[in-house]
Amino acid sequence: MDDTIYSTSTQHRLFTFTPRQLSDLRYATNNAAVEKITESIKRRAAAAGIVESEIGEIDCPTAEEELKLVAYYCVKCMQLSDHFQFPSNVKATALTFLHRLYLTTSTLTLHPKKLLLPILYLATKTENHYTPINSFIETAATAGPQVTKEDLLDPEFTIAMGLRWAFQENLVPPAAGAKVALLELLAGDMDRIGRAHGEARRLLTTTALLTDVYFLYTPPQISFGAFLEADRELATFYLDVKFPESDLPARKAKTKLLGVLDEIAKNHLSAGLSRESKNPYQDLLLQLPHNGITTSLAMAVDSALVKEVTRIDKKLYRVTKRDQDSAGKKKTEEGNGNGNGSQSGNGNGNGNGKYDEDEERRAKKRRLEREKAEREGDVFGASLSDVKTAGAGSF
């Protein structure tokens, strides 16, 4: 029965993959986003009157780079959650949301940095960990970022769509609560069990959340995998009790299960994994140290890695900026100095100095808005309130 019920869960239906499928999906997402943004930049350039040969190379981040970036922000999210002192279930949910969201959304479309706090706030709501929004904003401010209510709430719809509306997930309880319950079944060396549980729990709330295990295995397998990594002898003994030797199907299931648990422990959760060790998933884009991805908090502070992520982030910024700006503007901002940027005509009369500072600011705002509307081809003009202030200003 247990397995049948699991097979109806959204985790299984929407977010479980084989390594190959997962890797393919990541490449496909990246490809789609790159195509979209290239198209868009070219269109804008054409609209601004730039010939195709002069657009230059559009350097988009690859799927590998995107994954590195997301993984880095996952670590950031974890640190943020620790700063808020949220319980591990909120942390795990927030990280799962991040992972799941960036399966089908590219960082080119939505930058993870802007989403960290909204996702964390959404996770508190999902996990029923009530945090008043004002105190959330205050705590966030002590860590650095200044956010408003709108900043937190506006992206929720986009996030929810990326998650395909599957908020409920039973990831954390097996990682934290149930573990204890099942360990209690063993009447044995309580100290040893306590130690094993502590270690497994540590793995599950840190490393496991920074790897792909939640996409590749079922929650019980993950928690048993962590258990196996923590105390192999104890875990094998426990499984021997659960799957008696005398029963043939049980024995078969156990062999298979042990294989899977070994995979989890050795390929994903093991502390011995590093960039240099052998990659069991050759050519597949998974969150593994072999692919230059942080899978532990300790690795995140590695300066080379930070440098790499900063480079990717800059690259991403340049591409998205190019897409947002009009074609002429981007050339000057990039500072390439090849002065063939045909400035889009914006030589409108500026404020003529008679206005006071306030008036001038308003005029500037209007101009920016007008330019933006021109760029985006907003045929309906600015919103009503803006028109009103604009009218008031002109008198």
Binding site: A178, K179, E184
Partner: protein, 343 residues
């Protein structure tokens, strides 16, 4: 042409050019080999000596006289399609109860329609014909038995209608006889009463009337009995017939009693929830009256935790992926199975 309302007086035989205007009794025939029409006298003239090529220019197919028939539909294409459908239906005469599932039956129907369509529209005629032939040879027994079954059904149906008619006739006759008898009785009664009255015996009148009443009651009962017998006879006959027909191919269902859950049980495979687990941090809740009164049961916590710890433990993602892959292919399997059987 076949429709007398739209008879074309200028219609003429493409072979001898004689027209309906000159010969009002002209009859046109065609041969289902090439569907070229010609008048009856041409057919007699050309094909009297035996098979001969079609006289229409650039046709030249060998035709036989006995195959010539009157055109049923005005449109030759329709005529031809009906012929093709008839022919295909003779070979592909399986029925729904020959299949285990509706899906298989539908696949079969699609296959048949594909063949028919190909033949009607002359697409890959050679291959399609080959497929038809192969199916015919492969399923010879089934086809003949199905044909026999169909014939038997037709016969049974005809017999049933006949029997129905017969029983209706009998009932009608009986009703006539009954009316006649009743009338005769009334007359007898009248005569006897008159006689009794003439003799002035009042008591005798009463006796006669009572006797008469008794007799008519008895007659009515007898008639009702007879009618009943007739009716049950007819019903029994039709019942017997249908059961005989149905019994020829009824499949025996071998599965046991119906299970609405499809074999799913609510038993947990890997654990049994105990009433008590020694657990330090749950002690507080266990002894907290407020929590208990609020409806918090520690056992539910155990149950949930254990369920979450084991739900999906032996569920292997790669096996599931392989199964889904297999299933995806299976849909095409059923499509292929029929064409495999045919080709």
């Amino acid at each position: 042409m076949s429709n007398p309302l739209f008879r074309d007086d200028d219609e003429n035989c493409p072979v001898c050019k004689s027209s309906r205007y000159l010969n009002p009794n002209i009859r046109f025939l065609m041969n289902p080999v090439c569907y070229h029409k010609m008048c009856e006298s041409c057919v007699d003239r050309i094909f009297m000596q035996g098979p001969a090529p079609c006289p229409v220019i650039a046709c030249g197919k060998t035709l036989r006289k006995n195959k010539f028939r009157k055109q049923t539909f005005e449109d030759v294409a329709v005529e031809r399609e009906v012929d093709v459908r008839k022919r295909v239906a003779l070979t592909f005469n399986k029925r729904q109860d020959d299949f285990d599932t509706l899906r298989e039956y539908n696949d079969y129907l699609e296959e048949v329609e594909q063949i028919t369509f190909n033949l009607v529209n002359k697409i890959d005629v050679k291959e399609t014909e080959a497929r038809l032939l192969e199916y015919e040879t492969a399923n010879k027994d089934l086809i003949s038995s199905n044909a026999a079954r169909q014939a038997a059904e037709m016969m049974a149906f005809a017999q049933a209608t006949e029997a129905e008619k017969e029983s209706q006739r009998l009932a009608r006759e009986m009703a006539v006889r009954e009316r006649e008898e009743e009338r005769r009785e009334q007359e007898e009664l009248k005569a006897a009463t008159l006689n009794a009255l003439a003799s002035g015996d009042k008591g005798a009148v009463k006796v006669i009337q009572e006797v008469q009443l008794k007799r008519s009651g008895e007659r009515k009962r007898r008639q009702a009995d007879e009618q009943m017998k007739l009716k049950s006879l007819a019903e029994g006959r039709s019942l017997l017939k249908s059961s005989l027909l149905a019994g020829t191919r009824k499949r025996v269902l071998e599965d046991g009693p119906f299970d609405p859950l499809g074999g799913l049980s609510d038993a947990n495979e890997h654990y049994i929830v105990q009433d008590y687990y020694e657990n330090k941090w749950l002690e507080n809740v266990r002894n907290d009256t407020a929590a208990q009164a609020g409806g918090y049961f520690v056992k539910e916590y155990y149950r949930r935790s254990l369920f979450e710890a084991f739900s999906g433990l032996t569920f292997f993602v790669d096996e599931e992926a392989a199964r889904i892959e297999e299933e995806k292919r299976a849909t095409t399997y059923t499509d292929l199975m029929i064409s495999d059987a045919v080709s």
